[in-house]
């Protein structure tokens, strides 16, 4: 049975033509100074826009709620701050306050004892060396 469409037979000449056409297309695409790339060279290179999440897109914020600070953000920020801040015992204010408290306590105890002692007569007067004895309040016997 004969086919309805008769296949064309390739000749050596058509192969040469196809090869030349393929070579020309390759040159046009590959060479930068080709007319196809000339338009690109005259324009300023476009800045490559990096990916940024929607919440940080200040130009076109779409979801306002994403821009608002959340409690988690505050917690993270405070934790970062606390991690950077020195320990309480490394601060001079801590030692200043502690020193003031200690000095104040010692002064209060000493002052209280002195006040109590003076309210209770203070020191007994020294015993006269010509006396045969000294006794009573504040005396050893």
């Amino acid at each position: 049975m004969r086919p309805m469409v008769q296949l064309r037979k390739r000749t050596p000449g058509s192969g040469v033509v196809l090869s030349v056409l393929a070579a020309v297309m390759l040159v046009v695409v590959a060479v930068p100074s080709s007319p196809a790339r000339a338009a690109d060279d005259t324009e300023a290179p476009r800045a490559v826009k990096e990916y940024s999440p929607q919440a940080e897109d200040q130009d076109r914020p779409r979801d306002k709620s994403l821009l608002e600070k959340t409690p988690a953000d505050a917690a993270v920020a405070s934790k970062a701050q606390s991690a950077e801040a020195p320990a309480f015992y490394q601060r001079w204010q801590f030692w200043a306050i502690t020193g003031a408290i200690v000095v104040g306590a010692v002064a209060a105890i000493w002052g209280g004892e002195t006040l109590y002692h003076s309210l209770h007569g203070g020191d007994v007067r020294p015993c006269n060396s010509s006396f045969i004895a000294c006794a009573g309040q504040g005396e050893p016997q």
């Binding site: 309210l119 007067r125 045969i132 004895a133």
Partner: protein, 140 residues
Amino acid sequence: MKRALLASCAVALLGAAGCDSYHYYDMSLVLGSTFTTALVGEAQLCKVNISGADSHEFNLTNCGVNSNDSNIPDVGTFEFATFADSGTLTFTVDAYNGITPTPNCLYGSGMTSQPASSQITQMGTITLQVTGTGCPNSGQ
């Protein structure tokens, strides 16, 4: 207003605590005429007892008499310190011819009363008189 409150609190605190001041009683101890030289030599211990506005007790070794009896009959002065400033202080001195103040060794005594006052120093005299024979063997 705040200062007045603080001042009144301080006054109240002082009033509650009270302010004590020392008062001194310098008492001269004298051996009476009944104390012969032999009896003075027997004195081993004198016990001083204070009663009344204040109470206290202490001892005088050899009743304050020197080893060579050079300070008789005026033995010397003892000082009693107290906070008492009112009432009466009674000074009693008992002489023993033994080392331990037991009743059977008591052989002399003297007493005087002194009004307690705000005066800082008061002076008085206690005269000892022989009241008994004391211990049979002195030095026990």
